[in-house]
């Protein structure tokens, strides 16, 4: 088991290297060259020369790359041209919001998707099943920004049930410790702040989580249908086990395997979907920061965000891989 984990961790290294090389190349390909790209409008010949020297842009490529690598490891991405703050600071500022949003979306997608998929499979051919299948097909096709718009328009603008933007109502004086607003509210016992933060999460989370929800419903349904026809379920029935035990230990334990695999992929969808959703809801997170960076040609910030999301995605997939190994003993042998 341990060997399995270690092996997977080792596979991480070449990918991280590859990513750093790609980003390095990317920086040098930016319009105007890396120096003026990083400086933006504040570039003057002196400043450009200073950057060139600091980043060693007058040196051979591999020296530059080495220096770049060193900076990356130190998490030094330079400064955001939008406000002069270090990129790392901006990212740590904005990140918790996106994490909260992504978690909420994932909980929504799995918490609703798995039971829906399971029941669609068990009641195959019924109206419930047909609706679920149709619904999930639609859910996969709907672009995230459309759903975001729709939800915002109907529930926030028209009905006014939920806030249309932001993470927290400015009128609530909330104390922030971890920057995870829901958690903070709970920690400081400011329950109204926590509740308010949750309300701000609902619409974006539903918008963001709908596509993963649809995918999870489909995969769960297909998987349960497959498993239910397997011989070992028949054996379990022949043993006279209770329906609950069969469902838990024999059907779900096996049916969940493909679902776990896709969760890694879903997180990629969630991360890129966050970019669009946060923009629509003006939700201060990494997604909105990305849009702002694109708009303002803030390449330093963009670089930091891209690297961070990529690393995160890779790490999450690794965790999912390991989780799969825990769940399915047959995989550990390889």
């Amino acid at each position: 088991m341990l060997r399995f984990v270690v092996r997977r961790l080792l596979q991480l290294i070449p990918i991280l290297f590859g990513l750093s090389i790609l980003l390095f190349a990317w920086l040098r390909l930016l319009p105007g060259g890396p120096a003026s790209a990083l400086l933006g409008e504040r570039s003057t010949p002196e400043r450009v020369a200073a950057i060139n020297h600091a980043y060693g842009l007058d040196q051979p490529v591999w020296v530059q790359y080495w220096r770049y690598l060193q900076r990356l490891v130190r998490l030094d991405f330079g400064q955001s041209i939008q406000n002069g703050r270090p990129v790392t600071e901006v990212i740590t500022d904005q990140f918790p919001g996106t994490i909260e949003l992504t978690m909420a979306a994932l909980i929504f997608a799995v918490g609703v998707g798995v039971p829906l998929g399971y029941f669609a499979a068990r009641r195959q051919g019924s109206a419930w099943d047909t609706v679920s299948v149709m619904g999930s097909l639609l859910g996969v096709t709907i672009p995230v920004f459309f759903l975001a718009f729709l939800l915002k328009y109907v529930f926030a603008v028209q009905l006014g049930w939920l806030p249309p933007s932001g993470r927290q109502d400015v009128r609530i004086d909330a104390t922030h410790i971890t920057n995870f607003y829901v958690l903070d509210g709970l920690l400081t016992r400011e329950l109204d702040a926590s509740w308010d933060a949750m309300q701000h999460l609902i619409l974006p989370a539903i918008a963001l989580g709908t596509i993963p929800l649809a995918i999870i419903v489909r995969i769960t349904r297909a998987s349960v249908l497959d498993v239910v026809n397997e011989d070992y379920v028949r054996t379990a029935e022949a043993k006279g086990l209770s329906t609950a035990v069969i469902r838990r230990r024999h059907v779900l334990r096996n049916a969940m395997l493909p679902v776990v695999t896709t969760i890694g992929l879903q997180l990629g969808l969630l991360l890129s979907g966050a970019i669009l959703t946060e923009t629509v809801f003006a939700f201060p997170g990494i997604g909105q920061a990305t849009t702002g960076a694109i708009f303002n040609k803030d390449y330093a910030l963009l670089q930091g965000i891209i690297l961070m999301i990529a690393v995160l995605y890779v790490v999450i997939n690794l965790v999912v891989d390991i989780l799969y190994g825990v769940l399915d003993p047959r995989v550990r042998v390889r």
Binding site: F146, L276, Y313
Partner: protein, 305 residues
Amino acid sequence: MTTATQVDAAVGVFTGEDVAAGRWSEAFKRLRRNPAAILGAVLVLLFVLVAVFAPLLAPHDPNDQLLLGEVRPGFIPGPREGFPLGADALGRDELSRVLYGSRQSLLVGVVSTLVGLVIGLLLGGMAGAFGGRVDNVLMRVTDLMLSVPGLLTAITISVILGQSLTSVMIAIAIVNVPIFARLLRGSMLAQRESDYVLAARSIGLRRRTIVLSHVVPNSLGPVIVQATLTLATSIIDAAALSFLGLGNPDDTRPEWGQMLSDAQNLLGTRAALAFYPCIAIVLAALGFTLLGEALREALDPKFRR
């Protein structure tokens, strides 16, 4: 054998059905009976027709600011005689803009899918045919490309290439490449172990013959399915990129994603302006998705509802 297969076997035995019908004609028959497939095909056809015949179908020139005079802060003219969908913030006919927008979407969708497909199949084909180190290298590369979520990669590439339709097309094409490469390689690898390939090799067929005449045609099915689905995602991704401001900033050629972006601030004034392009995108993507999914089911030998 499970009860299901026992039933199938029993059924086959009792009725003597001929199970060996050709796969493609079987698939086509299933498609014809599938209502989702028909709906998908209709939507796709509609989309293509609109894109091709937009100049004939649109009531006005999409750039004529015919109703500009009536636009005021907080008010944009709605549907009326001669303007079925009303006007946009600059007084242009919304319907015409939506219809013309289909051209960009179709163009981007088709080009980025085709380019991604061709390059991807080439790479995947080489990996599958030659195996060994070639396969290893190509797999590392696709692993890397797939290690970043698609939209993010597309954004990264667009940023370098500047704001234009071409950059969007290239960006999305590059995102599509590893998908097709992996698909073909996987299919070829699976077939390499199969009995018919062993048989072909044992009678001395050259590798090139086996690959080109047998393995590739057998992989065609999943590739076509994936191409259809990729068309849908490409259309959506292109709109997303424009929405984020990475597409062609010049709006003399209407583009759905851009229209959506413009309409963001107008939700209070005229929310419909956001929905028309949205619905158009959804319908186009839905058409391809339904078709692709129906094709996948139709070609699956283990067809089961």
